[in-house]
């Protein structure tokens, strides 16, 4: 009998200690709340040849967030800090891309320059942003958030300067593909973009030692330097990857609205990305990471956002709820709270033994 209870407890512990357990529970709770509120939440129909439904909408709208959260996971794991400039980098990348496509005009109906050049230029600029952040963090040892705070405030200003303070419109159907649909394919393109990014990063991390190195640097930077890893270079690299992914997200976001709106592209997304990383079970002070967790976290956040919008919460008020969620997660993650909770559990166990005696 006792063995059976112990066995069951062991099994229970095995499930709850899985890294993806908490993120999946969170996602499940959010989805459950949605199903109760709107019974046809999972219904997917085809209207005008495209898939249509809440779930598709969440995946579609959340694809930028998924892309960002992957970069944020790597940065968090390697440097123990977050990159809060991702939203601004998105705006800069979008501004560069649109400005090159329109050839400097405010609105255009044809590409002035080839699309590929514009996208490559946008990627280059976002890599430059990443190099700037990475240099400050890895070489000059500045706390990651202070270093990225510089671009966080200056980035949108730079984007405004690039677009000359206006919203650049690209009214070309080819440009809308990335944020819309490819031909008659019923699945929105941003979902493909997100899946592609996840697969590429995942393959790189699994097939090379990069993931292991990043975890090493995050857990103990000086020890990994003594082992022979170039920890500064690795940190630098994660910031470049993060900004490059922010650039990808920026182009997707700008293609969605076929324009470069320097003030609103990626607004408040840095918070969502950090939240996704935290919800995914990654510890915000660095170390081990799980990309799958972050992706699930990102989908959860987007589902939460959509739910809140459905409950008629305005976009300005959303951060209140997200801030509360962040605080709850970091409190649950904090070692002191864990010790306190463990103390409670062992106390109860001790009481149980005493009661049995």
């Amino acid at each position: 009998m006792i063995e059976k209870v112990g066995n069951r407890k062991h099994c229970y512990k095995k499930i709850t200690e899985r890294r993806l357990f908490m993120p999946l529970v969170c996602l499940f709770i959010v989805l459950l709340a949605n199903v109760i509120k709107t019974p046809d939440f999972f219904k997917v129909s085809i209207n005008n040849g495209v898939l249509y439904g809440y779930t598709i909408d969440i995946l579609n709208r959340g694809s930028e967030l998924i892309i960002l959260s992957i970069g944020m996971t790597l940065v968090t794991a390697a440097s123990g800090g977050q990159d809060i400039s991702v939203g601004a980098v998105m705006a800069v990348a979008a501004a560069v891309c649109c400005q090159i496509l329109s050839g400097g005009a405010v609105t255009t109906n044809t590409f002035e320059n080839p699309l590929i050049i514009a996208i490559l230029a946008a990627f280059t600029v976002s890599i430059l942003c990443g190099m700037f952040n990475g240099f400050l963090v890895a070489r000059l040892h500045i706390q990651p958030m202070v270093a990225t705070l510089i671009l966080y405030t200056a980035g949108r200003g730079i984007a405004q300067l690039i677009t000359k303070g206006q919203i650049t419109y690209i009214r070309v159907d080819n440009y809308k593909i990335l944020g819309g649909y490819i031909g008659s394919c019923p699945v929105p393109t941003p979902i493909f973009a997100a899946i592609m990014t996840v697969i590429i990063v995942f393959l790189v991390i699994k097939n090379t030692a990069l993931g292991l190195y990043i975890e090493c640097v995050g857990i103990n930077g000086s020890a990994s330097r003594l082992v022979g890893l170039n920890s500064a270079m690795l940190k630098f690299l994660t910031y470049i990857i993060c900004s490059l992914l922010a650039g990808v997200a920026g182009i997707v976001a700008s293609s969605r609205i076929y324009s470069a709106d320097a003030n609103n592209i990626g607004l408040n997304l840095e918070m969502d990305a950090i939240l996704a990383v935290a919800l995914g079970g990654n510890i915000l002070s660095g170390g081990k990471f799980s990309l799958a967790g972050s992706v699930i976290g990102a989908i959860t956040i987007q589902a939460l956002t959509t739910t809140l919008y459905a409950m008629k919460v305005s976009a300005d008020q959303l951060p209140v709820y997200k801030a509360i969620v962040v605080i709850v997660i970091v409190i649950l993650q904090s070692p002191i709270f864990k010790k306190y909770a463990a103390g409670l559990v062992s106390k109860r166990a001790a009481e149980g033994i005493e009661g049995a005696n």
Partner: protein, 341 residues
């Protein structure tokens, strides 16, 4: 002998402060020479710097305290917006008088300080994460109160806001009329806070505890200092100062709206850093922060006087300056490490 004394006198923090003061005067004198027809040379121009940045001075002082302990607070901009909005809301929509508004402002700042301080000091959560959440929370709550702009028409408030205190000097304007220089009461409050804090930091136990904790947490702990309590106190004081600063900001803007004081956290941090406060903690003065704020004011003044540049340049120049000072700090501290080896 003399050389050694000189070396002792100029350590890295005073060196940074000296650079800041020199930079401020160079910029101001350059402005006076280039834009002398626009009234840059008048004493009122300098006083205007203080008038328009009174709130920022107080907030920068709070930021300095927190940064001396090695922490940071990026929620100040949002708290300022929340304070302005709540003050405007209770006065305009609820018909409360101005004293209630003042009390609410200070209490709001204090509550933010207590909650964030508790999370940072007693639960060991990174200050950046906590205050980032605080930043979004504050901005969101501002939108919850009202998404429209509320301009304040309370008589007593406007009387306070427009109460000019004339000084015994002045200048002659273009038409040849003598104009006396004036300041607002906000400037006096801000300067009083700067003076009180700089004394408190230097001569009280609390101030020395702050420096000790920021300098080396481990040795401060071994000395028997209560680190958690001191950190908490620093954040609470910072919260109250943000509340006061927010109200001073409100007296200057006379309105509450969601986008208000956006990027103010950046202004506060850069003022402190430019004024010689180290990001790693343990070093910093309130007087330095005052000069940091004045530099920020001069930059925005120069750019608006220039006329053709967009207002975004203020942010960009300030960020570049912050970046420069951070790099300087890092270079100085690394050279110090080499010397000590």
């Amino acid at each position: 002998m003399k050389n050694r004394r000189l070396k002792k006198g100029i350590n890295s923090s005073t060196f940074l402060l000296m650079i800041t003061i020199i930079l401020f005067f160079t910029m101001y004198i350059a402005g006076m020479i280039i834009y002398s027809d626009n009234g840059f040379a008048k004493p009122q121009m300098f006083l205007n710097l203080l008038i328009s940045n009174a709130g920022l001075i107080v907030i920068g002082c709070g930021m300095t305290l927190v940064m001396i302990t090695g922490g940071i607070d990026i929620s100040v901009g949002s708290v300022t917006a929340l304070v302005c909005m709540s003050a405007a809301y209770v006065m305009e929509n609820k018909g409360c008088n101005i004293y209630v508004a003042v009390a609410i402002s200070i209490v709001l700042g204090g509550v933010f300080g207590i909650v964030q301080g508790y999370l940072i000091a007693y639960l060991d959560i990174q200050p950046f994460i906590v205050t980032l959440a605080g930043m979004f929370f504050g901005r969101g709550m501002t939108a919850v109160i009202s998404t429209d702009m509320i301009s304040i028409k309370n008589e007593l408030f406007l009387k306070w806001a427009n109460c000019k205190i004339y000084l015994p000097f002045g200048s002659v304007n273009r038409k040849g009329v003598y104009q006396q220089a004036y300041i607002y009461p906000t400037v006096i409050i801000a300067l009083a806070i700067v003076i009180i804090l700089s004394f408190a930091l230097k001569y009280t136990k609390f101030g020395r505890r702050l420096y000790a904790i920021g300098g080396n947490q481990q040795s401060a702990l071994m000395m028997g200092l209560n680190i958690r309590k001191t950190k908490m106190q620093a954040y609470i004081l910072n919260g109250f100062l943000t509340g006061i600063g927010g109200f001073l900001f409100c007296l200057n803007s006379c309105a509450g709206f969601v986008e208000q004081a956006k990027g103010m956290e950046m202004d506060g941090i850069s003022a402190a850093v430019i004024g010689g406060t180290l990001l790693s903690g343990g070093v910093g003065t309130v007087i330095g922060t005052l000069f940091g704020v004045l530099i920020k004011g001069t930059i925005s003044c120069l750019i608006t006087t220039q006329g053709t540049l967009s207002s975004w340049w203020v942010r960009i120049v300030l960020s570049a300056l912050l970046c420069f000072f951070i790099v300087l700090q890092s270079v100085l501290s690394s050279s110090k490490k080499k010397n000590s080896r």
